[in-house]
């Protein structure tokens, strides 16, 4: 689908892509264009560079809060830096039935490990926070940068994985018979009929292999978490609906060069299959083609080679996408944009290229009232 950042819709932009391709920079630039067109905009980031952090004002002192970006835009522009642990804690705080239950979870050692290291926590929390912000309707548009990941697809799969994990009936059943609510190990008797032979073997295996200490922590955690499961599950459903909503558009960012093509095509297909709306595919940091630069030093040879390789890769990607989806190639710029001026210029360049990539019929339709 086509995208126009100066238009009031869509209300949600999700910037996805594998690590190191410039997602955060693009998200910030999109936010500037959107706010520049008069729409109150929030940019939610995860992993900005030091200087981008300074520019947006989302340093450690801000601690996840939404802060005003000192940009001269007609709409307000705010930014936040997401922290998985903090969002997770807040969620526990919200869904825990009593303060005691909350403290039991937050003080649990297994939770400590889980919140910091379980794959997918950051991704899950990203969409959680997005859902909160969207529900509050304080912004005309929210631009969500996504956590760094090797593969773009992680972002979509991780939230479901973590809900499955937290809500894993199998795991709860496996752990429950081991400990009572005081955390004492007791003979697993009552539920064994239901568990059956293999699960009993599994328990004894887990006992031998994992050790009781971790199991006790896990068991306590799952027992304490149980009242929260319903809230979590319902929430995950809502988040899924939000991502699949007509008002949510994904912007896929990829690196230049041939090796990025399979990932890009794979992700585009997965988004479409899952019923999500994919907007433009952005190939970032494309080395420009310099057919007329005929120097013979190392720099000229290298840049001619890079330009030719990147152009060929773009042609190939365009061919394999079948020409229906806008493909925006952003050229490598002399310096990575980190201050507001260069970010705004980067965003304007993107917006211009978007407009040029839009089919002519759409362009005319957009002009009419």
């Amino acid at each position: 689908m086509s995208l126009d950042l100066t238009a009031p819709r869509p209300p949600l932009l999700v910037v996805v892509g594998s690590g190191g391709v410039g997602k955060t920079t693009l998200a910030a630039a999109l936010g500037l264009v959107s706010a520049g067109a008069g729409h109150d905009t929030l940019v939610m980031t995860f992993d900005p560079s030091r200087r981008l952090k300074d520019t947006l004002g989302v340093d450690e002192a801000a601690g996840g809060a939404e802060v005003d970006v000192a940009a001269d835009t007609s709409g307000t522009l705010r930014a936040s830096l997401l922290d998985a642990r903090e969002t997770f804690d807040r969620l526990v705080d919200r869904y825990a039935p009593t303060p005691e239950a909350r403290d039991r979870i937050l003080g649990n050692r297994y939770y400590d490990h889980l919140a910091g290291h379980l794959g997918g926590v950051l991704e899950y929390m990203a969409v959680e926070r997005l859902y909160e912000v969207a529900a509050e309707r304080r912004y005309r548009r929210v631009v969500l940068d996504t956590p760094p990941a090797r593969e773009a697809i992680d972002f979509l799969e991780a939230p479901q994985r973590i809900v499955d994990f937290l809500d894993s009936g199998a795991l709860k059943i496996a752990l429950r018979p081991w400990f009572d609510h005081e955390g004492h190990l007791h003979a697993a008797s009552g539920l064994l009929g239901r568990l059956g032979f293999v699960d009993r073997r599994l328990e004894s295996f887990l006992d031998r292999v994992v050790g009781l200490k971790l199991l006790r922590d896990m068991s306590e955690f799952f027992l304490a978490f149980e009242p929260l499961f319903d809230g979590f599950r319902r929430r995950a459903e809502k988040v899924k609906e939000l991502l699949a909503d007509r008002g949510t558009v994904f912007v896929l960012v990829a690196g230049p060069g041939e090796q990025a093509i399979p990932d890009t095509l794979f992700f585009a297909r997965r988004l479409a299959d899952a019923g999500f709306r994919l907007g433009p595919i952005v190939v970032n940091r494309v080395h420009p083609d310099f057919p007329d630069a005929d120097g013979d030093d190392a720099g000229h040879r290298l840049f001619r080679w890079l330009g030719e390789r990147h152009r060929r890769a773009l042609d190939e990607l365009r061919r394999r996408l079948g020409g229906e989806r806008p493909l925006i190639a952003l050229p490598l710029v002399p310096h990575e944009p980190t201050d507001l001026g260069s970010l705004a210029a980067f965003g304007r360049d993107f917006q211009d290229r978007l407009a040029a990539a839009r089919p002519a019929s759409r362009r005319n339709a957009a002009k009419s009232p």
């Binding site: 293999v198 050790g211 120097g295 290298l302 001619r304 490598l332």
Partner: protein, 303 residues
């Protein structure tokens, strides 16, 4: 001590870096170098999509250890396979072990226990160099092309965390052995690959600080990869009358120079610079970079 003597004495060299920094190419080039020095070397890749075979010029290995060149082997490791091996070792009855391996509870556990994947990967490397793997060649050094996600430092600190959290049982025992192995500077080393750009350099410096703080260790080597060629009038202003290519080249090289200066100031320890070459990723690029890298490693003191 020369750097290549230092690297050549290690049993495990972990090569870490963000995606797009040329980490895999560097790991493969290091493998070529060690193998050429007579170290029997295994390149270990942990990625559902195989990539190193392409750099080595061999067909995908499908998880097996395959010979690539004299003294050089390659394996694509599935971490779950290592956890499965622990199960099979514990549960002697094959049919029961197989049913456990199919159980969703077991899979949730393997996915959910923080650090288990890391221990499985490192535990595999440990078994390889100890010759405990059935049907495997004798290996002197494992070069691990570390997963690009997250900080490489968690890979190395996970075993200790796991031991602290669990303490008992065979996984903890494996974790304890692995923790001792990776915290021994005579056995395990770390090479950090980065581009000379702001974000990757910042992350490399953070990784270095985290490693020092958590393990009291320093990386053996930093590779600043993908450098644009030095501009002829380096350090000067925008060249007047140069073509657009020359201007972009000079600007990008200036970014490199600035970040290299930051590294020179803040990175204590060996640093090696490698150029961006007009060669497609493959054995030819590996050979070219291995030659450059070998020359630097053989110098008495790098940077």
């Amino acid at each position: 001590m020369k750097l290549d003597d230092r690297l050549g004495a290690l049993r495990l060299l972990v090569v870490t870096g963000k995606g797009g920094t040329g980490k895999s190419v560097t790991a493969t080039a290091l493998g070529r170098i060690l193998a050429a020095r007579g170290r029997r070397t295994l390149l270990l890749e942990v990625d559902p999509r195989e990539n190193l075979h392409h750099l080595c010029g061999v067909p995908p290995s499908g998880g097996e250890i395959v010979a690539v060149a004299p003294g050089l082997w390659l394996q694509n490791l599935k971490p779950e396979a290592v956890a499965d091996w622990v199960v099979e070792k514990q549960i002697k009855v094959g049919v029961v072990a197989r049913r456990i391996l199919k159980s969703p509870v077991y899979h949730r556990f393997v996915e959910g226990a923080p650090g288990l994947t890391e221990i499985a990967i490192l535990g595999h490397a440990l078994r390889v160099v100890r010759g405990q793997l059935a049907r495997a060649p004798a290996i002197d050094t494992v070069i691990l092309d570390a997963p690009a996600t997250g900080h490489g430092v968690f890979l190395l600190t996970a075993p200790r965390l796991f031991v602290d959290a669990i303490g008992e049982g065979p996984f903890a025992e494996l974790a304890r052995q692995v923790a001792d192995f990776v915290s021994d500077p005579a056995k395990t080393g770390l090479a950090v690959v980065t581009l000379a750009e702001e974000m990757p350099v910042q992350e490399a410096l953070e990784l270095r600080a985290a490693l020092a703080g958590k393990l009291g260790r320093e990386p053996e080597l930093l590779v600043a990869n993908g450098l644009y060629p030095p501009a002829p009038d380096a350090g000067g202003d925008q060249p007047q009358g140069g073509d657009a290519l020359t201007r972009l080249w000079h600007d990008r090289r200036r970014v490199n120079d600035k970040e290299l200066a930051r590294l020179a100031e803040r990175w204590r320890g060996p640093r090696i610079e490698l150029p961006l070459l007009p060669v497609d990723a493959g054995p030819e690029l590996v050979a070219a970079l291995a030659e450059l890298l070998a020359g630097e490693l053989n110098a008495e003191d790098a940077a």
